[in-house]
């Protein structure tokens, strides 16, 4: 039950990312000075360490599967009914990597480097929109 899953807290730091997600847009942070891109919200740019140059930008929502696994061990009680479940490490077109899961792709059809696109699914008690990925049509 995804309504039971742990989700990130929404804070002033990452609020824009989740506002975008509610509209189906995947957002990443960038620096207006040096143009890097990263997924996990940070208060500063890791290159120049400035805070005032950090912006959220809309990413394409496309990426590739770097790798993927099936977890059989019930590490978390909230996943007991989903075992075994898939976790995929996605490389976004803009560069950042994130952990996620795959949607609507049979195990035998998953291959490393396959192109995928984002789709948001409500997770946790407050229906926090979290990215999942499906095969590019």
């Amino acid at each position: 039950m995804k309504s039971q899953h742990t989700v990130p807290e929404i804070t002033p730091l990452n609020k824009d990312q989740f506002d975008g997600a509610r509209e189906g847009i995947l957002r990443v942070q960038t620096c207006t000075d040096d143009g890097g891109a990263w997924y996990l919200a940070s208060s500063n740019c890791p290159v120049c360490l400035r805070e005032d140059t950090v912006r959220w930008i809309d990413a394409s929502g496309r990426g590739t599967v770097w790798s993927w696994i099936r977890i059989h061990q019930p590490y978390m009680p909230t996943f007991k009914d989903e075992i075994p479940y898939t976790v995929a490490y996605i490389r976004l077109e803009e560069g950042p990597l994130l952990m996620s899961t795959l949607q609507g792709i049979a195990d035998e059809d998953v291959v490393c480097d396959m192109p995928v696109e984002v789709v948001f699914v409500p997770y946790g008690e407050d229906a926090t929109p979290m990215p999942e990925f499906r095969a590019v049509a």
Partner: protein, 385 residues
């Protein structure tokens, strides 16, 4: 600064992992296990604890509690490192540096782990070690049930299989070799023979990794004593020197690294080779941090024991056995001796060059190496003084 002081390792202590495993005691603490290992290391060296003026602990959070219990109440230097496996190499490096710099003369490095008694799982909401620091960032992964270092390594293993064509079952020789070595180690936890059929039939934990690709969860303690080469001269055991040591990190939000730790590991490999003059052909046995078996292949390749992408072929045909071309994890490693998070492997590397590994002694072992490939990659090369 004056010249660095020459340093030696003079004491090694390991608790009896097998008997601790079969006699599970929920009240046995990491402090107790650390004290027991320290006592063994002091006896091994022939040192009195009044000479210990540096105390570096790992997985034992309270250094005041430990100092009180060990009766070492006024060391010149004390610190407590987190209980993650990557710290085994780091703590020994720091102990050496302290002695070289003259900040302490005799440093005891002590590790204690009661994780099994305390119900540790290395996965789930509470992971411990380096993971607690991620806070809200960790929840981005927890949402998908991604929690354990084993799962992160499994992710890299799938990618390796994809890139280099390694088949399912390619890791079996590591698990089997570890088990065969453990049968010759009286303090190992898992000493029952393991067949390839049993390996292949074992359950997936994070597919494509199986149960026997995972380190076990067990309790115990390890202690290493470092002092000056001068003081080492009239102690009980032959002094062992660290001919080279180096580390390099890869700090990012995921244990999974897309280069399979190559960047940092190649740098460490080159530096220990340059510092010691010993390359892959000179190493008589290597103790490789094997929290999960794929890390052994990454280590062998990045450290130049075999070509990139060919580690899975290198480990076949008995090449890594005790009497093979490159004996690996001679005490049984983390999958069979016990998971002392690298500390047991360091102890074994020292014992092999001392020539005191008993039934599992590698013939003519003059040079041994410890390798830990992880977010903090480290390596040491040991010889007798």
């Amino acid at each position: 600064m004056s010249q660095p002081i020459d340093v030696a390792i003079v004491g090694v202590g390991t608790t009896d992992f097998g008997s601790i495993y079969s006699d599970r005691d929920p009240f046995r603490t990491e402090y107790q296990l650390g004290v027991e290992a320290l006592k063994l290391a002091l006896d091994d060296a022939g040192l009195d604890k009044s000479e210990i003026d540096g105390l570096l602990l790992s997985r034992i959070p309270g250094y005041e509690t430990f100092g009180y219990m060990a009766g070492i109440e006024q060391p010149r230097v004390v610190n407590s490192y987190e209980g993650s496996g990557r710290m085994a190499g780091v703590v020994l490096q720091h102990a050496i540096s302290l002695v070289q710099a003259g900040l302490a003369t005799t440093v005891a490095c002590v590790y204690g782990n009661n994780g099994r008694a305390a119900g540790a799982t290395y996965g789930g909401e509470q992971r411990g070690g380096a993971y607690n620091a991620w806070g809200n960032m960790a929840k981005y992964d927890l949402a998908y049930g991604m929690t354990s270092p084993g799962a992160s390594v499994s992710m890299m293993w799938r990618r390796y299989m994809h890139e280099y064509g390694a088949p399912d079952g390619a890791l079996a020789p590591i698990a089997l070799s570890n088990r065969a070595n453990a049968q010759k180690n009286p303090i190992a936890v898992m000493r029952k023979p393991l067949s390839e059929e049993e390996y292949m039939a074992s359950r997936f934990v994070s597919e494509p990794l199986r149960l026997y690709d995972y380190c076990m969860i067990n309790d115990g303690g390890v202690a290493l004593i470092v002092t000056t080469a001068e003081r080492a001269k009239d102690l009980k055991k032959p002094a062992v020197v660290v001919r080279a040591t180096a580390s390099r990190t890869q700090l990012s939000p995921h244990y999974t690294k897309t280069d399979l730790f190559r960047d940092s590991a190649v740098d460490v490999a080159q530096r220990v080779r340059a510092q010691s003059g010993f390359g892959p052909d000179d190493i008589d046995c290597v103790q490789i941090y094997d929290n999960f078996t794929p890390i052994v292949l990454f280590s062998l390749e990045h450290f130049g024991f075999t070509e990139q992408g060919h580690g899975w072929e290198f480990i076949q045909d008995g090449r890594i056995a005790l009497d093979g071309q490159l004996p690996i994890n001679t005490s049984g490693g983390h999958t069979s001796e016990g998971y002392m998070q690298g500390w047991g492997l360091e102890a074994e590397a020292i014992r092999q060059v001392r020539g005191e590994a008993g039934e599992r002694q590698v013939a003519d072992c003059d040079v041994s190496q410890y390798i830990c490939v992880s977010p903090i990659t480290s390596s040491h090369i040991f010889t007798r003084a």
